[in-house]
């Protein structure tokens, strides 16, 4: 849903996955920005109705960017810097107790 604008400063490319799919991001991106730049439509499903959601505020207040990062659920993708080799997954509903 987003694309890089023209004439960006070069950045180190980072490999990461989303639900197992290999994607590329740029060093300096947050997880949420990297997902948007890769055209990912939704990153979580709500606990109440299962509706798909995507990052809404990108500033840490709405919690619609919640994802599972390297096995840990309920992480705010818009506050976590992307790192090489990260495994990002859709957050389905609430965080499950066995992850705690």
């Amino acid at each position: 849903m987003f694309r890089p604008m023209r004439d960006l400063a070069p950045a180190v490319a980072l490999n990461f996955t989303f639900d197992g799919k290999a994607l590329k991001g740029r060093a300096g991106d947050t997880v949420a920005a990297a997902l948007l730049a890769n055209g990912i439509v939704a990153c979580r499903e709500t606990p109440v109705s299962g509706a798909p959601r995507a990052p809404y505020c990108l500033m840490g207040i709405c919690f619609d960017c919640l994802v599972v990062i390297d096995g840990i659920g309920n992480r705010q993708g818009c506050l976590v810097p992307l790192a090489e080799g990260m495994a990002v997954e859709t957050q389905h509903g609430r965080r499950h107790v066995e992850e705690v």
Binding site: M1, P4, M5, A9, R26, L58, M59, F63
Partner: protein, 483 residues
């Protein structure tokens, strides 16, 4: 500035802890350090700048014209902080702030950094947690593809990315023009800017116009407005908005002059001004009041930005919306007073040093009232139609809230939580609080001030049980549970 990347590097105690690395926090921390205080600045973002100067040290956007010179001014604010002798903890979340029971006159601050939690102490605190966009609940605002205009600006500053495809911007406020022009300069395809400013606001706002004529931003603001209006497809007097789509946004329906029109689009960016983010200040026990002109909750502060809790000051837009330049100046003023409270400055010294900053602050705030009155959102965008989701976390609609207020006689937002769970999801009311208050006020024929706001409690940000369990135990906390 010394960056701290591991929670173990934090000291047990600081003279001053500043929360939030936007212009107010950076200036407060720099000034306090310059005055000899031992200072820690904590910020949950990975880099300094807050939202307005987001990613100022790291942005991949090379063409300076895209973000504009006002943005790049942030470099000097960050630069000054970097030269100051203060500790800086990025990526660090404050989840609680309260008086230290064991040591009267100091605060205990709960922090998380890199998945580990810790409690530290501070003699003084300056909270510069800034503003958030005012919630803009319309049908379909939870669909992927709908986001705040501020979010698109953050994506642009931080990652150099722009929305793909047909983009619509909707709402009101001075920032709307800036956001539209920045996104257009970055190459976004903006098919329409939908202006929801109510026509009748002009009558009220004109009373404040003489003051606005002396505003330092007048010329710049008008130029930006004229340019944006000329270059982009502008639609004024919009009275209704609804986003629609299956699993993602497909279109937005626009009501104006009694007729409806549907615009096919891929991205919808919403913005109806900014309000102070009150979660931390409220949970810290600071008193707030409802500001009728800015139409939002604002902390009660004195001339030095000291809150009702001795030792806690609140500066920047969190003290009431004033804009980036005023935020930095407010931070300075709060820092002078912190130094005075700690005995580093006498009252006359503080007053003398702060006088020029205060004069500049007054100049910067000129014309604000005009903007507040002109861009006050229309009632239907504050208290939306029944089918609209109000609480995004718990998916509670305006209709359910009205019904609970009417039929069950729910009188306030705290009681509403018990019935509908609104405000009890992870965002802790940040995205629904103002709307819930507005709806109860509407049904009961009261003002938002009479209805009140959520009573917020720490932790103000989620912290895991594992983090809490790993906190070092004090004797008192062990005694409290071991019998």
């Amino acid at each position: 500035m010394t960056p701290l990347t591991d929670i173990g590097q934090l000291a047990e105690h600081y003279d001053l802890v500043v929360v939030g690395a936007g212009p107010a926090g950076l200036s407060a921390a720099a000034r306090a350090a310059e005055l000899g205080l031992i200072v820690l600045l904590v910020d949950e973002n990975p880099t300094p700048g807050g939202q307005i100067y987001r990613a100022i040290t790291t942005t991949p956007v090379k063409d300076r014209a895209v973000l504009g010179e006002d943005y790049w001014r942030g470099s000097s604010i960050v630069g000054r902080f970097e030269r100051a002798k203060a500790a800086y903890a990025p990526g660090c979340t404050v989840w609680s702030l309260g008086p230290d029971e064991g040591e009267p006159g100091t605060f205990e601050i709960g922090l998380s950094l890199g998945g580990k939690a810790r409690m530290i102490a501070a003699s003084q605190a300056i909270l510069t947690t800034g503003a958030q966009e005012r919630p803009f609940p319309i049908p379909g605002w939870t669909l992927p593809g709908v986001m705040t205009a501020g979010a698109a600006q953050i994506a642009l500053k931080g990652a150099g990315i722009v929305p793909v495809g047909r983009t619509v911007i909707a709402g009101c406020g001075p920032l709307l023009y800036l956001l539209a022009s920045q996104l257009a300069a970055a190459g976004a395809e903006i098919v329409a800017v939908l202006d929801t400013t109510p026509k009748r606001n002009w009558t009220k706002a004109l009373a404040a116009f003489p003051d606005f004529l002396r505003s330092p931003y007048l010329a710049k603001g008008l130029q930006l407005m004229a340019q944006t209006r000329r270059r982009l497809h502008f639609v004024s007097n919009v009275t209704g908005l609804a986003a629609a789509g299956e699993g993602r946004l497909a279109s937005v329906t626009v009501e104006r002059k009694g007729a409806a029109e549907t615009i096919v689009c891929d991205t919808l960016l919403l913005h109806q001004g900014v309000i102070p983010g009150v979660n931390l200040t409220n949970a810290a026990g600071c008193e707030h009041f409802f500001d009728n002109e800015q139409h939002c909750w604002v902390p009660k502060l004195d001339r030095w930005f000291a809150s009702s809790v001795p030792g806690i000051a609140i500066a920047g837009d969190g003290a009431g919306i004033g804009g980036a330049e005023s935020a930095a100046l407010r931070g300075e003023i709060a820092a002078f007073d912190a130094a005075r409270r700690l005995g580093r400055l006498t009252k006359p010294e503080r007053d003398r040093k702060a006088a020029p900053v205060r004069a500049e602050l007054e100049r910067r705030l000129r014309g604000r009232r005009f903007l507040d009155l002109l861009y006050k959102p229309a009632p239907q965008f504050l208290a939306p139609k029944d089918e609209t989701i109000v609480c995004r976390c718990e998916e509670v609609t305006a209709g359910q809230i009205r019904d609970a207020a009417r039929r069950l006689g729910v009188t306030g937002p705290n009681q509403m939580k018990a019935f509908l769970r609104c405000g009890m999801g992870p965002c802790q009311g940040r995205l629904c609080g103002p709307t819930v208050v507005e709806l109860i006020a509407e049904v009961r024929g009261r003002t938002p001030a009479e209805i009140g706001y959520y009573r917020l409690r720490p932790p103000v940000k989620p912290v895991t049980l594992a983090e809490l369990a790993a906190l070092p135990q004090t004797e008192a906390s062990v005694e409290a549970v071991v019998r």
